[in-house]
Point group: C2
Chain length 451, copies 2
Amino acid sequence: MNPLDCLFKPRSVALVGASADEGRPGCVVFRNLRAFRGRFYPVNPHRTEIDGVPVYASVCDLPETVDLSVILRPAPEVPELLAAHAGKARCAAIVSAGFAETGSESLQREVVRLGRELGIRLLGPNCLGVFSPYQRLDTLFLPRERLKRPKKGNAAVVSQSGALLLCLLEALAFSGRGVSWGINYGNAADIDAADIYDYLAEERGTGVVISYLESVADGRRFVAAAERLAERKPLLILKAGKGESGQRAACSHTGRLAGKYEVFSSIMRQSGIREVSDFEELLDAGHALAVQRPSRGNRIGIVTNAGGLGVLAADECARHGIELPPLPEAVRQRLHENLPPFYSVANPIDLTGQVRDVEYLTALDSIRDEYDGFLVIAHTGVIGLSLRLAELLSAFRAVSGKPLVAHLTSGGITGGLAGRLEKAGIPVYPSPERAVRGLRLLLNNGEAPWG
Amino acid sequence: MNPLDCLFKPRSVALVGASADEGRPGCVVFRNLRAFRGRFYPVNPHRTEIDGVPVYASVCDLPETVDLSVILRPAPEVPELLAAHAGKARCAAIVSAGFAETGSESLQREVVRLGRELGIRLLGPNCLGVFSPYQRLDTLFLPRERLKRPKKGNAAVVSQSGALLLCLLEALAFSGRGVSWGINYGNAADIDAADIYDYLAEERGTGVVISYLESVADGRRFVAAAERLAERKPLLILKAGKGESGQRAACSHTGRLAGKYEVFSSIMRQSGIREVSDFEELLDAGHALAVQRPSRGNRIGIVTNAGGLGVLAADECARHGIELPPLPEAVRQRLHENLPPFYSVANPIDLTGQVRDVEYLTALDSIRDEYDGFLVIAHTGVIGLSLRLAELLSAFRAVSGKPLVAHLTSGGITGGLAGRLEKAGIPVYPSPERAVRGLRLLLNNGEAPWG
């Protein structure tokens, strides 16, 4: 048993600050936690029940030592409330803001001291806590009609910023993707990114970790944990606060100096941790890594039915150092014999607007052993394409076992086709360049240790 | 009257190769052109009518000289068909493929010679022709159930590649945006990008031109026309075939050498033509320029309610050389007096999750004269935001007259809010970085001549 199981997989949860007042955070979280799979104890000195659930006046009255206590009361009350947790909780998520991030350093130090003294691990303060669809654990104080939650999946989302955690979870939910956990560690007074990475490295239900951060307090500790995690499974990091103005913005956001970005970035690269450059790429790459295993090489083949989209993809490959080697002569010969003469047999292979479903498979099969990964581009408006294309691509993917992503243009049969491809573990992207950026992190150009 | 009105605003159109056979291009275009606002003459020697519309055996039999004849017959038939157009057409769009792009240079030369001899301007060959929702002119041979068409708008889409024209039109249609024209010039044997740019420079209904190209035959001519256009209205160019592999791909796609990209790019920059780097940016920037006038400066203010998203936007500004100057001290003082103390009064201004609608206006009003453009970021899941925010931002935009774009996170009230903002001419983007890239081309960092 891992000591942080009390945070990630609690069997019992208390909510200090449970409320019956519609719209208040204590009411939102109360409602979320009613669905929790374990035992749930609301705490509020002024109530004996809320919506029929018995309420405890104090954590002292709880019938057991809970794994996790969620504290949702104003910052000045927190030390006294935490002191009352002696022997009653293994971990506390302090949602309350108003600690170091607003200059109240001493209040935060007091809370850290108390936690140590009582043997209670602390998440936060100034954090949203944790979301897990598997445990039905949800401490996010935004109601479901305001924030759609993602379904079950194997991607863990780890964010220093609360708002970014919400944005990432929402974006995942809206694109139909799932998570194992979403966690926001806020001021990281005790539990920090390194602790969370270490936990997720061991945890089998998590296949990929996507992480947003602005600053790191203990760089050496962070890098060591990130390296340990990246040896076990893909770790994607979006580091904000890069340029001068970005660093200034990050500083006024978290109150910590972000440090020289170039140094951070170079350490990440040396450690095999994949850095992404923006919000969409974090999601796009996270999606690819959630459904496919990375490949060992860096050479890809592109099959398209729209020449121009193939050229744009080739441009994007060049930007990222992905190789697009020409087809071997024997393969060219074979394809020339099996495809109409006006198709362009090169890399990209351009099957033109005359393409029929099966020709994608003909092309892919002929280059299966030549490349380390594949990008399929389909302008789905053409007459010769049908939903059968999804079957053929899934079959190819099953046989090749190599990374395969797709870009489909909007409209036509795209909706149905994309759904089927996604179901078969083939990520679909809305532009040729985003498909390449998704595929990029499935390739190994000698930097990443996993594979 | 402009000589190319016969292509862009024809009063009469002939379709050579009209067909009644479901699924054939000649049938698809026949159906599209039945909705054409002018006079329409299908031509087919084997029919006297299709769906009740009288069909002419030959263009010789047409009752008038048509402005535009669309030729949809196999390449080898085209010279003879074109010869029959003597005195019967001012312009011909040769949709047929099988000319220079497949090595049949002499066939193409023959067609060009004929066009000159007969005084008929030619679009193509190997092109999709032209789409205009205003004229209900639609020569695209993909049926509407396979390719959604955009509504009326003021953006003209000019593409060397047919498939890219389709992809761009489709993407615009799916995001609810409109076009004045979509045109694909294919092999450009006669009418080329330069002719089209010159026409659009004069044409009042077009406010922005977005153009995809892979190669240019006469560089000097192209640059001169692009410069003339860019002096009148924003011209956005996506040049594909940049790197070595991209150039190889472009070459096998169009059969022309793409030329050294760096040279092209540097000429564009010197000429004040805005180059975009990928498919989505072409659409994103085109959208911004379709609804707002560019500003003269390069200094922006950001107002957010999610610190992290503000930091990501600041990072993207740094990448593009957009300045994010700190707030003047007097403005800081004023905001400190008018906003809760825990809001971060800097640039970005962070209104936090506690924000209420009206505070966005408070913040924006206070910095209205300080910056050349504004980015509003809203995590819409928070309780204090409502659809009223759209009204307030629209009012601010009306008063300031400066560029203003928005990023809204997914979910919550975003759908309703985004619709209202778009209606008020405020483009909404799905990530903070894409919002910056949209705003970027509304700013003037000394490169662009328009404004």
